[in-house]
């Protein structure tokens, strides 16, 4: 069955890609399966300079989910272009660069740097990281800032820009409409929900950063609801994520209105999950009577 789907800047042979921060820059997972199987890859968030992130512990397990507060640790955009992209170049898959920062200027700087590298097919603008003091989520929870930063980054980018939305808002549709006005080429959603776990033996928040981002199957109903609403309110393609762990989940996201999906937390439990989902997708689509990916997108709407 034909699993391909065309999105701005992204010629996907299938709608499956690893989510930012859950797959590093691909190296580690390439020992488990051939990355050429992937529809695309989204790299870990990049900032202008190297960042060491938050103190540890940085992760905790929750019911059907996990909390993380990595804090955007990364070697910085230039080291990524120099050391990581050459490795990914060897594979025949679109590369999406995830852009983060503390100031609009830093976001512009990183986007511009990636735009100069011909191997980058699209940018994912991370305005929804809940784990850093400045930047990140503050841009994603305010309509004006979201619009402003999207405009500014678009101006510096020569590849399509997908804006990654935060679910930690009263009205995600307003934010989606703001980034559409600002010229975003697509939307990726959802990033993590802010959460906390208290470690009883020590009577302290388990995660050193106190709060962390909640991900995994626990948040899937929230992701589905937000994608369903946003897809009715904007004309941008959506790359959906939030708790996907099998082919049925993928179809649920497509029915809700996503055109492709990203898989995060599930990689930790099963390093082969992306590959397995890609292999199961044709059979699963058939079982539910679908003949293509296009056939499924948005069909869950009444």
């Amino acid at each position: 069955m034909n699993l391909s789907i065309q999105l701005p800047g992204l010629n996907l042979k299938n709608p499956i890609m690893p989510a930012s921060g859950c797959f590093g820059f691909g190296r580690e997972y390439s020992q488990f399966f051939d990355l050429n199987e992937l529809g695309a890859i989204i790299m870990k968030s990049a900032t202008g300079e190297e960042r060491l992130g938050n103190p540890t512990p940085r992760v905790a397990e929750t019911a059907s989910g996990m909390l993380n507060a990595i804090g955007l640790q990364n070697p910085g955009v230039h080291k990524i272009i120099e050391k990581e992209i050459p490795f990914l170049k060897k594979f025949d898959i679109p590369i999406i660069a995830n852009v983060a920062g503390s100031t609009i200027e830093e976001y512009e700087y990183v986007a511009e740097a990636f735009s100069k590298d011909a191997t980058i097919n699209a940018i994912e603008l991370n305005i929804s990281c809940p784990n850093v003091k400045e930047g990140g989520i503050q841009f994603g929870t305010n309509i004006n800032m979201a619009e402003e930063i999207t405009k500014r980054v678009k101006a510096k980018s020569n590849v399509p820009v997908y804006v990654k939305l935060s679910p930690n808002v009263t009205n995600v549709v307003e934010i989606a409409q703001a980034v559409e006005r600002a010229g975003a080429d697509g939307i990726t959603m959802i990033n993590t929900l802010t959460g906390m776990q208290i470690h009883l033996p020590s009577k302290r928040p388990l995660i050193a950063n106190r709060t962390g981002g909640l991900s995994g199957p626990a948040i899937k109903p929230i992701a589905i609801k937000m994608i369903y609403e946003v897809s009715e309110a904007v004309d941008l393609p959506i790359i959906g994520m939030g708790g996907i762990s099998n082919a049925d989940d993928v179809i649920e996201f497509l029915l809700a209105g996503a055109s492709a999906v990203a898989i995060g937390t599930a990689n930790f439990q099963n390093p082969l999950v992306c590959s397995e989902i890609i292999n199961n997708l044709p059979k699963t689509l058939e079982n539910y009577g679908f003949n293509s990916i296009e056939d499924v997108i948005g069909k869950g709407h009444i």
Binding site: Y29, F32, E50, R58, V59, A60, M66, N68, Q73, F268
Partner: protein
């Protein structure tokens, strides 16, 4: 290379207070694993895997032994696995204790505390094959927590210390006086405070320390498990670059 395997459980039994021994069957791991490496276990109903050090391998019978302490939800569920079941394992992962520069009759020190003891047993097995002279100091909370004393004694000179003095020497592993020895290296695993004390006391010796941290991916992709280091990068990943590090490279 790390593989994902569904391994038959040979046995899973209690060996001391809150302490268990899990024996798995894997030709691949038993024939390729080296001391210091860990397995990443998928426990039913848990989003994240749990890392456990390899405590012993039997190449002939293709078995791998893990020793674990009951500390929380994951290990509580791990003790419920029966012999007839299989468990999903990623491994072997991480870097080993460096021993290639050791030759016959070199003297080394192994210091372990609590759940830090398991990897030292696998190490002791390898070192005894090399006929390296070992002094092993193993610390436990109290007598009831003591495990594998016999196994260690068979491999070399073993000193047991308990915090409450209910068995062996009373006090911490770093309280034991070993000034008469002349160690080429030390190898240590245990809680962070213990590792700090060991690093400090034996600062004149090149040592190797095995660290623990809460893991996400366990393969080097998520940056959950970093530890500060002296190199320019400023950090290393415990799951990929460790869990064993040279006492000279880590900042603790």
């Amino acid at each position: 290379m790390i593989r994902k395997e569904l391994l038959p459980i040979i046995s899973n039994k209690k060996i001391a207070h809150e302490s268990y021994e899990l024996v798995l069957e894997s030709e691949y791991i038993s024939s390729t694993a080296v001391p210091g490496q860990f397995l990443h276990l998928s426990i039913r109903n848990h989003t994240l895997r749990r890392p456990l050090s390899i405590a012993a391998v039997d190449k002939k019978n293709h078995t791998v032994t893990l020793l674990y302490k009951l500390v929380g939800k994951g290990t509580e569920d791990l003790i419920t696995y029966d012999t007839n079941e299989k468990i999903d394992v990623l491994g072997p992962g991480g870097k080993e204790f460096v021993i290639d520069d050791l030759t016959e009759n070199d003297e080394v020190l192994l210091i372990g505390g609590g759940i830090g003891v398991p990897p030292l047993h696998f190490l002791a097995q390898k070192l005894s094959e090399k006929n390296v002279k070992m002094t092993m100091v193993l610390g436990f909370l109290s007598k009831e927590y003591l495990f594998y004393e016999k196994e260690f004694n068979e491999l070399g000179h073993t000193i047991i210390a308990t915090d409450d003095g209910s068995y062996g020497e009373k006090g911490r592993v770093t309280d034991v006086d070993l000034s008469q020895f002349n160690f080429k290296h030390y190898y240590s695993c245990g809680p962070l405070p213990m590792l700090k004390a060991v690093k400090e006391k034996y600062s004149h010796i090149d040592g190797f320390l095995s660290f623990e941290e809460r893991f996400g991916c366990g393969v080097g992709a998520c940056f959950a498990c970093v530890i500060p280091t002296k190199d320019d990068a400023g950090y290393k990943k415990i799951c990929q670059d460790g869990p064993v590090f040279s006492s000279k490279e880590v900042l603790i």
